[in-house]
């Protein structure tokens, strides 16, 4: 990207309120996920205190019905959430890139076959498949969960990237590259992809948010990781042990609010970035 283009981008990025707010929220939670566990005084699953103790100086977010420290669970869960988002989002985006670029650039038969596969995966009820797979695995970790989520989330990314590639493939500079004898992969990653960086970034953000939400949903219905904590699991336990009727609000409000805030902030960032990248949406 040119120096001028870059400074222009930063100029509009800084002026965009949505982007600033969204990024600030994400940054806040990311810092908490990184440094929070060091601040937490107790291991997340250890029984340390009286049951269902409301927030206090000792236990910032109170304790669970088993007497576990909610703050430590929360920061560890936050970490898990970001890990799922990173791994699941990356896998989903990479698969989407691979399939989208191949289909869009090659066209013809290759495109039709890939498009068929994409459509099939797209209409499979993802959550149902995840439930079935998760039910078969007795020991489940964050990593396996992230991989499953990534493996099922790529189709719409692939479709979006394919459509973009289609429109870029017919540009004259791609023809220029072809008559320079460049190999296909070089044209895709050297000529086409750099022009879609902003688009790929948006795809990644949405994949990240999607993975976080999917993981929360899986955990909430009890099919999450068995060997750790996560925000979804916290809500799952809170529900199972009647935190709602017992009015132990400090148990389920922090994880619920955090998931909402993170996913919400990701979407707001996405809209903000879109406005920055797309000159038509810019306000002068």
């Amino acid at each position: 990207m040119g120096l001028k283009a870059r400074s222009e981008f930063l100029y509009f990025a800084w002026r965009n309120k949505k982007l600033r707010v969204g990024l600030a929220i994400i940054l806040f939670f990311a810092l908490m996920a990184i440094f929070g566990p060091f601040l937490a005084k107790y291991p997340p699953n250890e029984y340390v205190e009286v049951a269902a103790f409301p927030p206090s100086r000792e236990h910032w977010f109170g304790t669970t019905i088993f007497g576990q420290d909610v703050f430590s669970q929360f920061v560890h869960g936050l970490r898990a959430t970001f890990i799922v988002g990173l791994i699941g989002g990356t896998i989903g985006t990479l698969l989407g890139i691979l399939i989208g670029f191949t289909a869009g650039y090659r066209g013809g038969m290759v495109d039709e076959i890939l498009n068929m596969i994409t459509n099939i995966v797209l209409i499979i009820p993802t959550l149902a498949v995840l439930i079935i797979i998760a039910a078969y695995l007795t020991v489940r970790g964050i990593l396996t969960e992230s991989i499953f989520i990534g493996l099922t989330a790529w189709p719409w990314a692939a479709r979006a990237i394919r459509a973009q590639t289609f429109s870029l493939r017919v540009r004259e500079y791609v023809d220029m590259a072809r008559i320079s004898g460049m190999k296909s992969w070089r044209i895709i990653f050297g000529e086409i992809a750099p022009n879609m960086m902003s688009y790929l970034l948006l795809v990644y953000i949405l994949q990240f948010g999607g993975a976080v939400l999917n993981a929360a949903a899986l955990d909430f219905i009890g099919l999450g990781p068995t060997d750790t904590v996560s925000l979804g699991l916290m809500m799952n336990y809170a529900l199972l042990w009647a935190a709602l009727p017992l009015k132990i609000w400090w148990w389920f409000v922090p994880p619920g609010a955090a998931i909402m805030a993170i996913v919400g902030a990701l979407y707001v960032t996405n809209v903000g970035l879109d406005e920055v990248f797309n000159p038509k949406l810019r306000e002068l």
Partner: protein
């Protein structure tokens, strides 16, 4: 040099490619060594499709394209690369031909990387500068800049220089000056003419008859993917025989002559495929006979060919 033999391009559209959409039909002509041939046609005439088939950017549906007695449609891998070393193209949109996020001179680096990886950088830089000077550019002024910092004329010269860095024998110039401003386009055209003088063969694709006349020895008039008339430029322009060529000649806005009051011929959108002449629906001289068979290209005078039942 370059010979097209009954070349056709048919697109299949609709579900399972049920409908056939011919873009180019049975086109045969050749470009000899050191010759400029104009391929003249309106939008949708298939002229760019022909250029792209020669450059192997689009596949040929039927027919053959021969480059020095070599069938180009089967070229693969290294053979194709060697072909590109000798046959190159420059396209219409100077800004579109550059990847907007990179500097314009990156096209030279790509040529080096793909074709001359063994030439030392210093020698290469010198060769680039020499070539830029030969196309009328000042290397200091144009190197190390982004496409939007250069003018359309400079960018097209850049692309011509890029082609010249290779051992080029044949150039497809597809509407290369139609997007340039009047005051600069003629210089790019002159540059092409100078290259011809050095022995380069050029296929000059254009919709502008006066440009075609200015630069080429021979002209091919295309309509709806078929050749209507072709031959030596003077014969075709001063003695147009096909009604379509005559209409074109009458419609060209000139500075030395006003439009004659002729019967208006505007298309009414009817593009139904006929068994006969494709120009029949717009033709002022058509007879029922014209709808029965496709008129063959006939040599009506030495090196002057016409495809019309009524000539």
């Amino acid at each position: 040099m370059m010979r097209l033999d009954r070349v056709s391009k048919i697109y299949r559209v609709g579900a399972f490619g049920a409908r056939k959409l011919p873009a180019v039909c049975d086109v045969s002509f050749d470009v000899r060594g050191g010759e400029v041939v104009s391929l003249i046609g309106e939008s949708g005439s298939g002229k760019s499709t022909i250029g792209k088939m020669i450059l192997r950017l689009i596949s040929i549906t039927s027919g053959k394209i021969w480059f020095n007695d070599m069938d180009i449609s089967t070229l693969k891998g290294n053979a194709l690369k060697e072909y590109y070393r000798r046959v190159q193209g420059v396209f219409q949109d100077p800004f579109g031909s550059y990847n907007p996020i990179f500097k314009a001179d990156r096209i030279f680096q790509i040529v080096r990387r793909e074709f001359y990886p063994h030439i030392p950088q210093a020698d290469w830089d010198e060769k680039v500068e020499r070539t830029l000077t030969s196309v009328g550019l000042n290397p200091q002024q144009v190197l190390n800049k982004f496409p939007h910092q250069l003018s359309g004329g400079q960018l097209q010269r850049f692309l011509i220089a890029r082609a010249l860095l290779l051992d080029i024998e044949f150039l497809v110039a597809d509407e290369i000056i139609s997007m340039l401003d009047a005051s600069t386009r003629i210089d790019v055209l002159n540059l092409l003419a100078d290259l011809k003088a050095r022995g380069l063969s050029i296929l000059f694709i254009t919709h502008d008859l006066s440009l075609g006349y200015y630069i080429s020895e021979r002209a091919v008039i295309l309509y709806c993917g078929r050749i209507m008339e072709m031959g030596r430029t003077e014969s075709v322009f001063s003695n147009p025989i096909h009604p379509y060529t005559q209409l074109l000649m009458d419609s060209v806005p000139r500075l030395d002559q006003k439009w004659a009051k002729t019967v208006r011929s505007v298309e009414d959108g009817d593009k139904a495929h006929l068994a006969g002449c494709v120009y029949y629906p717009r033709c002022s001289k058509g007879t029922p006979e014209c709808t029965k068979a496709i008129p063959p290209l006939v040599e009506v005078a030495p090196d002057h060919w016409v495809a019309c039942h009524r000539w």
